[in-house]
Symmetry: C2
Subunit: 294 residues, 2 copies
């Protein structure tokens, strides 16, 4: 990934409305050493993040991402991010973006072990070319997530609703999918319900109804899925949150993995069984997702 810009932000910003948040930002070289080995993000995956798509300099759905960052911080007992400060940081970074598609990452780490405060930084990188995934589609395999669909209801320390830096399992699932000749994975709960992809939400179409698995503690509520449902409703379709069974994937009229950077990737096969792709609708969805969204 070609990082082009990064800034460290001091998360201990003042609530004083006269504060110029720019004073809490330090621009750094994204390819140079910036973090010490004592960082708990690196030692323990102990922190939270968001990935925001940037199209021609416009950061997409910033409020939804910042709301989720706040939610993740609450679940992880991290200081609640200061929204105005982070919004300004996103704008500052987005202003450095080249035309085309980029990725902004927000990271809030618990900081250096036994250090005084969390650490936080925001990076900008050129996005990978996702044209092929968006047009030709992706093959997926269904993989057990190990947890029951309601695992975190009485066990918030499992952090299932938080977007934490502890993504080793998500990365391992994608490697397993590739080992099986697929491109990506769809997690299934140990009690047999479809959850989400390792870095995406899943959306299925049955006739005129679009379905995504009911958000629960076990599913990260996807910002792109939310935005897509609003679009589909405006287009006259019905949308539904409900339990989804693994066998339904093969029965769907179409299905997509949706996420902030790759956007809508139509699923062409599930565990080796072909699935129909609605190319026109997929193109419309991605055109919408590439348009400026707030």
């Amino acid at each position: 990934m070609a990082w082009s810009f990064a800034l460290v932000i001091d998360p201990a910003a003042s609530d004083d409305p006269r504060t110029d948040f720019a004073d809490t930002f330090t621009v750094i070289d994204p390819t140079a050493p910036a973090l010490s080995v004592g960082e708990l993000s690196t030692q323990r995956g102990d922190g939270i993040f968001e990935s925001i798509g940037v199209v021609d300099g416009h950061p997409q759905e910033v409020d939804a991402h910042l709301e989720r960052l706040v939610h993740s911080a609450e679940l992880c007992d991290l200081p609640v991010p200061h929204l105005a400060q982070w919004r300004q940081a996103v704008k500052t970074v987005a202003d450095a973006a080249d035309p085309g598609e980029s990725v902004i990452k927000l990271i809030l780490s618990r900081g250096v072990e036994h250090g005084p405060t969390p650490t936080a930084w925001v990076t900008l990188a050129r996005a990978a070319d996702n044209t092929r995934s968006r047009t030709e589609g992706i093959r997926v395999v269904q993989l057990d997530r190990g947890y029951g669909v309601n695992a975190s209801a009485d066990a918030p320390w499992l952090l299932l609703g938080a977007k934490t830096l502890s993504y080793a399992v998500n990365m391992a699932a994608i490697r397993e999918a590739k080992r099986r000749g697929a491109d990506d994975a769809v997690f299934v709960s140990s009690d047999g319900y479809v959850l989400e992809g390792p870095t995406s939400s899943i959306v299925l179409r049955f006739g005129e109804v679009f379905v995504t698995p009911e958000p629960s503690g076990g599913i990260l509520h996807g910002t792109t899925q939310l935005s897509l449902f609003a679009y589909l409703e405006a287009e006259g379709y019905a949308t539904q949150y409900r339990r989804v069974l693994p066998a339904e994937l093969a029965e769907a009229d179409a299905a997509w993995l949706v996420s902030s950077i790759r956007l809508a990737a139509p699923i062409t096969s599930v565990d080796g069984v072909d699935l129909a792709v609605d190319r026109d609708l997929t193109a419309s969805i991605n055109a919408y997702l590439l348009s400026p969204r707030d």
Copy 2:
């Protein structure tokens, strides 16, 4: 934590027996910026680690830790660590230790995103004073781990037998324990078996028999537990690996959480119910664990 020494190692070391591994080490300032924001250890918790106790300059159980590092690397599809290289790195770092107790951490990260190779480093820090935990003991609460005891048998991508950098849940469990007025947690599987602590193994005593939960994909095999069992057997006790039920903790004659740095911490209460502490035996165990062990 007071880091006193660190070196980055080039994990792409040659197998040529004439290689001087010292050439693959770069000493760094452990408190200075050393890692770039693109590090996958920090972005994704994507890497593995080991913590080795050092007593008066002697690193404990190095081979057992390196074997587990290799096992973790295999589970995580990371290049298998070169044992002679890592052993020399541990020795180099241990030689820089002050008298008393220190901690060496070995970290093997997947490296910078889209970068050419993994990154690896070894740090040295003064250990916290664990006297109170070892003598006065610790209060624990039992917390659901969300997974069934055999969750990873058919799902190796859950990485349950690997010591990964994705420890956010382990850290959250310890915070939850403190919120409940305890010092540490004991994880219980979703199907009702005692597993381990977030950063330790559990050992229970029933008469002359010492028991630890049967290692499975869901339990990290503890180097300190292994060493302790060898000691107990030499002392004439019986040792046993078997399934342990949560109710057995309150019935045990004594119980400990054991780990490489805190060593044997006797459990004084489980979910608020007092447990007997065998102070003499605990002192003997910790004296053994503090003696040079290879």
